[in-house]
Symmetry: D2
């Protein structure tokens, strides 16, 4: 299902980049959760373009309105629809792409699938599409925090050749992440990343990067084995973000190089519950959360649209020079941080709702988590 994600906590997004508005409908959110637009606006502001020199010049205020599903500051259990107007659309920018498909962009594939060209349909293959994800994720996160005491924090862990030191388990919070516009909590790495991004931009180029995400407080027992493994759902969610190219959970790609005796996470008592000494599994075993922090990384490619001239063929097959017009980020990872958090929250809310009825042993163990 293209524009709906989730089985229990279900998010449907809509809206083209160059249309009048974008939005989301959240269905399946429990009733009586405190919620107002400001809770959502916070994350939308972190996603918003035009925040600083590192991001696209497109200027959007991205004010969200909640048009259903909430009354008197509480969710009703009915679908929550949210709208965000597009203020700064310039469809004229895109006319040329009806003749030349932008390299590594979705112009040609949308045309193959839908028979429509960039100026219109291509408007869904855009960073703007993530507004709906972030709005829907903010509601999920609100519930996960209030009902379950869960914290989700993502940060930029690499830009081009610059790596941040390993920060998993260091208790990073969003304030630390936002201290530098590049959204890497390590000051030195952040400064170097910024230089890398600005250098790419000045060269009319773009650069890729990595986002790391850590979820603390997820109770054991969430996730479905076999096809609905919690990390499989996280993979689908993260890889569906525009420009995402790779997903790894726990030790990830490095696990392929390890031996079992290195990789295995031994059990040990921790604060009265069974925990693990290491966390190479990234908080998930057999597709089900084990109570350790869930840790994963997502790789993002360099944005396809660059100012440098590129030699490429039009739909007519004739080779020509193409230099990007339009306003685009030289690097997506700083703004991808709240999107990664949003998709994570949506997956976890879905897993939480799915976990309620698993076991009839002694009530619903898998849902025993903190309550306010």
């Amino acid at each position: 299902m293209s524009n709906t994600f989730g089985h229990y906590y279900r998010v449907t997004t809509f809206g083209e980049s160059h249309g009048g508005m974008v939005g989301a409908v959240v269905d399946g959110c429990p009733s009586r959760i405190p919620l107002d637009a400001a809770d959502i606006q916070l994350q939308l502001d972190r996603r918003r373009p035009g925040q600083n020199a590192l991001t696209t010049a497109r200027n959007e205020t991205d004010r969200v309105s909640i048009v259903s599903g909430v009354a008197d500051g509480l969710t009703l259990g009915t679908p929550i629809a949210m709208l965000v107007h597009n203020d700064d659309t310039r469809p004229v920018d895109y006319r040329r792409f009806t003749e030349i498909p932008r390299p590594s962009h979705a112009d040609a594939t949308y045309r193959a699938k839908y028979g429509v060209s960039a100026g219109s349909g291509g408007g869904r293959a855009s960073a703007r599409e993530t507004v709906g994800r972030v709005a829907a994720g903010a509601i999920a996160e609100q519930w996960l925090r209030i009902r379950w005491g869960i914290t989700i924090v993502a940060w930029v862990s690499a830009v081009g050749d610059i790596d941040a030191p390993e920060l998993e388990g260091a208790g990073i919070d969003r304030a630390a992440v936002d201290r530098h516009p590049v959204r890497c909590p390590d000051a030195a790495a952040a400064a170097a990343m910024e230089q890398t991004i600005l250098a790419a931009r000045d060269a009319g180029d773009s650069v890729g990067g990595l986002v790391t995400c850590e979820c603390r407080g997820v109770p054991p027992g969430w996730g479905e084995p076999v096809f609905g493994k919690l990390h499989a759902m996280l993979a689908a969610a993260q890889i569906s973000i525009p420009a995402a190219r790779a997903f790894e959970i726990g030790a990830g790609m490095a696990a392929a190089r390890m031996q079992g005796s290195q990789h295995n996470d031994m059990y040990v008592m921790k604060d009265g519950r069974l925990g693990t000494v290491t966390n190479h599994s990234g908080g998930i075993q057999g597709g089900i959360s084990n109570g350790e922090p869930i840790v994963f990384r997502v790789a993002f490619k360099p944005p396809a649209t660059i100012a440098r001239s590129q030699r490429t063929a039009g739909y007519d097959g004739v080779d020509q020079e193409l230099a990007a017009v339009g306003r685009h980020d030289p690097c997506v990872v700083p703004r991808a941080v709240p999107v990664v958090e949003a998709m994570t929250a949506i997956v976890l809310a879905d897993a939480a709702l799915s976990a309620y009825p698993s076991c009839e042993r002694n009530g619903y163990d898998s849902t025993d988590g903190p309550r306010p």
Copy 2:
């Protein structure tokens, strides 16, 4: 949905490792596709344990029977149910794990979720669960080959520290893959990988590895944008395979290190259709296939069950020595190859069926592919 995968081509699997049988039901397969059990048996035989010194000693014949959905050698359009008996089950092996959860195995998480312990429920968190995937994938592959001319080939590209040379685009076929039991088509790399696996086994240890998969002949226009991106579905499918830890499409993790001018795939005419010079996108742009080969890699961790003694806590929190009993592979990747192919086929069949009605322009362009 835990045990069902796919929206249009839908696969439901069942069966515990130590129960009487495992199986799969395929719903949504078009009618009148030539199919008999031998088509499925071929891939089950490649997945089967006990093939050689590199795999577990568990001895299973894995004969599949098709009990519905096929008559006179043709599919009927009705659900295709397949059964495979478990011949060599020894449930007694697992009794101890009701007291000590195996490190990095799903014993503790199944217990948290379902309130049941290893000997029974844990039997679904097992390589044996992949029998149903392979059977269902073989049917999908049959249709993709006959109807669309699609070829799917996976191979082992790394084991521990040993890497195969890059073989994407080299026209590797399954015969080349199967020439060496390690399932790496490069003879020298295969020999070194075999040594690595045997060394791990002899040390009572295990080792991880990488599988690369290439799909040729996928027509442009398959995959849904936004949440149903073709590579997001591939990611979910592959990461749901037991022991999978990372997924990357095209340039993957490396894309995070690249600049746009390097990563972009320029268009060029190829045999009368618009193709790309490079394939860093791995055959998918904006979530939709572009007609280039779809290329991705999956990282598998070293198997958790090892003969070496490990110091770990029981459910009671008391630390003790645990040495594995049971029969397990020292490295999963050789046997993971047909499982990766199967999950790929299931995703592509689902995408094919979903692609039919996308566009009303001039018929169903996105489905114009080769026919016999």
Copy 3:
């Protein structure tokens, strides 16, 4: 899934009766279908309250805006979001129902499920909720008409004790239906129905009725056997309409009284294709359309909210007099007509999209008509 209907043509609706707006998102609609807001407005106007003396005095203009998924008068293949503002909301009317649940209304059951009371959550259990259905159905109908030549016409066939003569097969069109505000194409019956409705209204009461729906031009081969039978999907769709109480296909309830030799529809050649002499099956056999008109009826109860005083208990169990406030229809069937048509169109569009890939014999026969 509460607020989403359909698997391929998927409709998600949102909005409370007394909130700011109601709306719908349609996902899965093929691209390049001619569509503008006027196509949708036509059916919304037929559903609109305040049309005449037979309907509620609530006054809504119900102007729809399409905010995504359409450009240059053609669908894009992306989700089509539609918004309709609530002009005439008076939430104050409903305050009392937080203490006394309205008999045969959803106040008490919403409170049991969601812990919220009438003024807010109850606002989804309202005829206003059908705005989204009608908007989404109008798009489906547009495609069914243009692509498949399908006509869907519903009319009022009974109000209280007044029955219309049997009009199935008489080629009734919407102009004939709309000739009288009661929406019964038979003038004499319509006049009697009107009297029945006005008498009920004047007595501070309400009255039930029947809607008959006929779909012409549905090709053979649509619908899924077993659980997804075409009439099972129609039943779910129609019975989900507020106030619907019964659904019957073809001979329906009367079939229970018949013998096989009476009920069986014999085959005969009709205009070069195999048709049936009678149509007791209502156009569907084994869950699959057979090319004959699809005919079914839906029974609607009398509206629960009536001006007459009723003796009923409050949540505190204390018996009291309750006389309705608020503005409600004395009979829903005239306004239910476009809602029944909308839900029918949604089911048929879903079935059409699902029918494409059924059979690989010689293309996609099931969408082309009967075979020799």
Copy 4:
């Protein structure tokens, strides 16, 4: 989705009437529910053909085996697969129907959809398909009884012109239902119904009938408003049973003839909870259960296959005489009783699982009964 029903409690059935076996896979059933094959066999025996003179002479033992998902007499939370062998298949009976489609049977529509003819694909449009429903329903019923104290009882309330007196609310149990093979608890009516069935059979004809179903003990708060209304799900489930033609909840068709003041169910205190004086709503208001018994009726047509000769056209359009061969029931309702119960149980189990997380006010009230 054709062969899968339910979102949370998910049933997938498979198997052709004339193939080797039929079966079902149940996914989403909570773990640790006591279950063994005998619980399922009980209902299969009630569904079984060849029980007495009223049913088809086809002789099937219908022994079920559970091949996964249960160990030590408890469910594991993993999918429960069940198999039932077809003992008495005679495919030769059906050869003629490849030339002449049986009137009011699915031969022609299956051929239109799948391009296959009766002897094979038609084998899914058969009463035999209901074996899987009954098996899956028996598990749902087991959970509903043990966990929720729910009782589901269906009985034959009409055959042809013979009506049973109204028995809703009379505390009918299955022993009373099974006292007479016709499965009507009223002895006089049962005897008359039997005569009607035998007369139809002796005339080489068949006859239709009605089944009434009552569910006691369903807590308030189950069911989803809008599209997932509890009675909409029941309608889809019941109408999907072979030969079902109509569904009515509560007052049903009669509601169309009533006035609001008659139809409304007034609230009153009953045993300390808010109940209703009458139950015209059939236990559901706004799509959500209200704690009163859920009561509905399903109309079944007379079986299409009759021994009397019928004049009908072959696929070639040529009119001919067709007299049924094969072994068929002269009336389906006695054997439909356990099928109606099974589909009801599946819908209620699905609704129960869906109801857990609705409201965050003070735990999961909607599963605990009405609130003050």
